[in-house]
């Protein structure tokens, strides 16, 4: 389908939120947005909740919350929206763009930081800039929640161990009475350096398969 007149004047605006994406992909995302929102202009948490494929995802709540998180809008605000429009939707989606052949080393650094920031925001639910032990425990618990009959203890142990690892890697020398408040963003970056987020955290923004748009929201 070609670019209709209705789109053309806003597409330019939208692309500013998500520079490297193509016209076709933006239009497809917009179609999907309309489908999710029931042809409204905004989507709410309930719209996203009702996607059936998401039901089996253990971290569903965090993912949905990430869309409504103001921190992901690159505008240095905190808090969360009740509903988001297409621009905000695109802005969140732009965190998942892949690097291209032309991406320079500095741009990769920036991209990596941005993606790590997204992950960090997902963990840091109270927006205080650090991931505390409780928050991290919650993360691991959620991860293991759909995996069946595993007790909370395992999650706690793993989260504790992970936290300890972050602390010891970043602040090797701590006196017994010093206290590690929580994982800051710098420490988070440090501990996940090896994963090369910019090459891993992306999805393929191909043209959306039209059949998936018809079968169930």
């Amino acid at each position: 389908m070609g670019v209709s007149v209705a789109y053309s004047h806003v597409v330019g605006v939208w692309r500013s939120f998500f520079p490297t994406v193509s016209l076709e992909q933006i239009i497809n995302l917009h179609k999907r947005f309309k489908q999710l929102s029931g042809n409204e202009d905004t989507i709410s948490r309930e719209n996203l909740d009702s996607i059936p494929a998401l039901a089996t995802n253990p971290i569903r709540k965090q993912i949905i919350e990430a869309f409504f998180d103001k921190r992901n809008q690159r505008q240095d605000e905190v808090g969360s929206f009740h509903e988001i429009g297409f621009e905000q939707f695109l802005m969140v989606m732009s965190h998942f763009r892949p690097p291209t052949l032309k991406t320079t080393e500095e741009e990769r650094e920036v991209m990596r930081r941005e993606k790590l920031r997204f992950l960090f925001n997902m963990h840091d639910t109270d927006s205080d800039g650090t991931i505390t032990l409780d928050e991290y425990r919650k993360v691991v618990e959620e991860l293991l929640s759909k995996s069946g009959a595993i007790g909370l203890e395992a999650a706690k142990a793993i989260a504790d161990a992970a936290m300890l690892e972050v602390a010891s890697t970043n602040v090797p020398h701590m006196e017994p009475d010093e206290f590690y408040e929580g994982i800051t963003f710098e420490h988070f970056e440090q501990i996940l350096k090896g994963l090369e987020m910019e090459s891993r955290m992306h999805i393929r923004f191909l043209d959306v398969n039209t059949t998936t748009m018809h079968c169930g929201k």
């Binding site: 971290i59 161990a161 992970a162 300890l164 206290f179 090896g194």
Partner: protein
């Protein structure tokens, strides 16, 4: 005699200091040469069988007859070489290969400049030369059946079993493109151009004119396939990043199907001289059958092996055997139907591995790993030596034009193929391949023994130019292995290609890898786009729901991956701890004083007397504990990713650990009634069992703070001296006891329960750990203090 002497000589060598060992090294070399001479003679003699054999039988006949007439003296000592001939020769070759390998690593600088494969080929040349000099006939070692049925499978199984599934699957499309389309392109390009070159020979009727198109194409298909053995041998020493490694290596494995089909196709029709379109079409179908059939056969055997391993809990000793035998049978079955044996083997290894590893004991796991590495190592060595020997053997037909054109065409075809394919592939890849990547992929296309064996397999009756082909193949192999093999390492340095990261897989990375998987699946679902995350997620869920239940014994089937990973880490730590618990002071790479108490939010407990917070443990002791743990963990982590025989590290799993664990299990059973759950942190820096942990425990568990009656307030540590006082071992116990105590399977993280005599049942048991730690260190180095001593030391003042 000689071999014993050599062995002792070899044994005392590693202990020598290199600086002063020049005479010893010379001695070793001389001994090796003498040994070679001594061994090649029987090897050579044995291969001129008929004459001597006939003599012997004649002698026996005469003797038998003569026995009736004349009585000879009873033979006190006689030699019957013929009786043991074949196994003796085989053992001799294997011994030779192993000694060579040993020798190379004793010469320090050589192994860093020249890749092992080159050295081995040279040795093969030497041996072949020696045999020829001795006037004997060189044994036909490069027997195709020997190669394909005995030498190749161990290498492929080793590769398949330890194949890193995740990067392989992620890049499967790219790998298939290179393997299938790339090999086809190479074969036709080389074959076609060779034919053209042969035809336009300006000379008077040159022998080259006689070569038809189809034999040329056949030759092209033989020479075009990248060889997994050669790639493995060279790439393992250069440590490039995982992506490139898996691309070249995966290509070398998957192009087997293409090679098989092309080879059979052209060989069939070379006699007839033409290939029709129908045949071509059938060839395509055949390719699909060969490839998919091979994978199917492998997968079936893999599932059988996994299923069998479910029931081996009572016969642990033969567990490795199942892995090996099922895999070998998969290979043989595939070969029987002319399917791709290599793909069958890879599929079998890759399919069975996750389930088998969940079922078998740790010792079996170690055994499998070691045997696979050992066999593949020996195989590889033998293959290269035999290549050298077979080169000397000939017969050769050197034709300058043919050989040089072949070599040049191989290089050119490879480069064009890689560049062209990458251009197409990059349209579909998200992480694109850069020019550097392309160069390494092109340069890493080494040919090896498979090409030679296939050439050897050609029927001389049908292919008059077989010798010329063989000569050309050997030249190409030599060129790629020597020139490309030797220069790839400096080139990698020069081009600053990304190297393999020393993967210290941390628990954080594992958590976030899983998190990322779910996140990307979720985002794809929100986009409404069924990408490969979606399908991977579906496959995982199917696996978890149905397959794991069938193939994994007991309760391990429900264990999620994160927990399994965590347990694995703990187990390794436990083993490390036991092994080094003798108090050896190891240099700590990153000493850290951080412990759990620094992490937990300090909730000031109500009415808590200040002294309560601090246990009595000297700082120095804590430091010692931490240093050891830290350094041990560094080594442990590096081990977690090793699938390459060069990084295989000695596995310290001791027999004693089992006994410890059994005792520990008994303690745990007694403590099942204790409900308070406390966790142990095993990981990185602080000894999780340091007393500082209990401070954390106390902080988070309010009831721990309550003032207890005197008997309870002292969490005395009753240490069972025989038990492995590592918290990790607890989990180990859980795993081992799974079948017997299903109700225990619920992963309680690290549960460390104090021994039954503990006076403070409600005490955080982890207090025990700290003392255990010291205990362990002490008890391994000295008889250990008696239990009483510890009882007197109150944990809390």
């Amino acid at each position: 005699g000689v071999s014993c002497f050599l062995q002792t000589a070899c044994q005392c060598l590693p202990g020598c200091d290199f600086g002063s060992s020049l005479p010893e090294r010379a001695l070793l070399l001389v001994l090796v040469l003498v040994f070679l001479q001594g061994s090649v003679l029987p090897l050579g003699a044995a291969s001129s069988p008929d004459v001597s054999h006939q003599d012997k039988t004649d002698n026996h006949k005469v003797e038998a007859q003569g026995h009736n007439y004349t009585k000879k003296a009873f033979p006190v000592l006689s030699i019957d070489y013929h009786y043991i001939q074949t196994p003796f020769e085989i053992s001799l070759w294997v011994l030779l290969a192993s000694l060579m390998k040993l020798g190379f690593h004793l010469i320090p600088r050589l192994s860093s400049i020249v890749p092992e494969s080159c050295l081995l080929i040279v040795v093969g040349l030497l041996v072949g030369g020696l045999i020829k000099l001795a006037g004997e006939q060189v044994p036909p070692v490069m027997n195709t059946r020997l190669f394909f049925l005995c030498l190749l499978p161990p290498i492929i199984l080793d590769a398949g079993y330890f194949l890193p599934i995740r990067p392989f699957m992620e890049n499967l499309g790219t790998i298939l493109m290179f393997a299938v389309v790339g090999t086809l392109w190479n074969a036709f390009f080389i074959g076609g151009l060779l034919y053209a070159v042969c035809q336009i020979q300006p000379d008077n009727p040159s022998s080259l004119h006689q070569i038809e198109l189809l034999p040329c194409l056949l030759f092209g298909s033989i020479i075009s396939a990248v060889d997994p053995v050669a790639v493995l041998a060279v790439f393992e020493e250069i440590h490039i990043n995982e992506l490139l490694h898996i691309l070249v290596f995966g290509e070398s494995l998957l192009n087997d199907a293409v090679t098989v089909v092309l080879y059979h196709l052209f060989e069939e029709y070379s006699g007839i001289g033409t290939v029709s379109v129908l045949d071509g079409f059938l060839g395509v179908i055949s390719f699909l059958v060969v490839a998919l059939g091979g994978v199917l056969v492998g997968a079936i055997y893999g599932i059988l092996a996994a299923f069998t391993s479910r029931f081996t809990s009572h016969t642990r000793v033969i567990e490795p055997l199942f892995v090996f035998v099922y895999s070998y049978m998969a290979y043989l079955s595939a070969e029987m139907f002319h399917l791709s044996g290599i793909m069958a083997l890879i599929a079998c290894g890759a399919v069975m591995r996750p389930y088998v590893e969940a079922n078998i004991s740790h010792k079996s796991h170690t055994t499998i790993k070691y045997f696979l590495k050992m066999w593949s190592s020996v195989s590889e060595t033998l293959i290269f030596i035999f290549l050298g020997v077979a080169t000397v053997d000939g017969p050769h037909n050197w034709n300058w034009t043919f050989v040089t054109v072949t070599v040049i065409l191989c290089l050119v075809a490879r480069v064009i193929g890689v560049v062209g394919l990458t251009y197409v592939i990059n349209k579909f890849r998200i992480v694109k391949l850069t020019t550097k990547d392309q160069f390494i992929v092109a340069y890493g296309g080494l040919r090896g023994a498979i090409a030679f064996s296939l050439g050897f397999l050609l029927d001389p009756a049908h292919f008059a130019m077989r010798e010329m082909f063989l000569t050309a193949i050997i030249t190409v192999i030599f060129f790629t292995v020597f020139v490309q093999g030797m220069t790839i390492k400096p080139l990698v340095e020069l081009l600053a290609v990304k190297k393999k990261q020393e993967a210290k897989r941390s628990i954080n990375e594992e958590i976030h890898t899983q998190f990322l998987d779910h996140l990307l699946t979720g985002i794809e679902d929100i986009c409404g786009h069924y990408g490969h995350h979606h399908w991977k997620d579906k496959l995982n869920r199917f696996n978890k729901k149905y397959v794991k239940k069938c193939l994994i014994a007991g309760e391990r089937s429900k264990e999620p991956q994160l927990i399994a990973f965590y347990h694995k880490m703990e187990m390794k730590q436990a083993i490390e701890l036991v092994e080094s618990g003798g108090g050896v002071k190891l240099p700590a790479a990153m000493p850290s004083t951080v412990s759990m108490q620094n992490i937990q939010p300090k909730k000031p407990p109500p009415a808590l007397p200040p002294e309560r917070a601090l246990p009595q443990l000297s700082k120095g002791r804590e430091e010692e504990i931490r240093k050891i743990l830290r350094s041990n963990l560094q080594r442990t982590r590096q081990r977690l990713r090793s699938y390459n025989r060069h990084t295989l590290v000695a596995d310290p799993y001791e027999d004693g650990l089992n006994d410890f664990l059994i005792k520990k299990q008994k303690i745990i059973e007694l403590e099942k009634k204790i409900t308070e759950m406390n966790n142990y942190l095993t990981v990185p820096s602080a000894p999780p069992d340091s007393p500082t942990i209990t401070r954390a425990r106390l902080a988070s568990d309010p009831q721990a703070y309550s003032v207890k009656p005197t008997s309870d307030s002292v969490p005395t540590i009753q240490v069972d001296l025989a038990s492995p006082q590592s918290p990790d071992s607890v989990n180990l116990m859980d795993e081992f006891r799974n079948a017997r105590q299903p109700e225990q399977d619920e992963d309680r993280g690290l549960m460390m329960k104090p021994p039954s005599e503990a006076k403070g049942p409600k005490r955080p048991e982890d207090a025990e750990g700290a003392k255990d730690q010291q205990r362990l260190m002490r008890c391994l180095s000295d008889p250990g203090p008696s239990a009483d001593e510890d009882e007197d030391e109150p944990f809390l003042p």
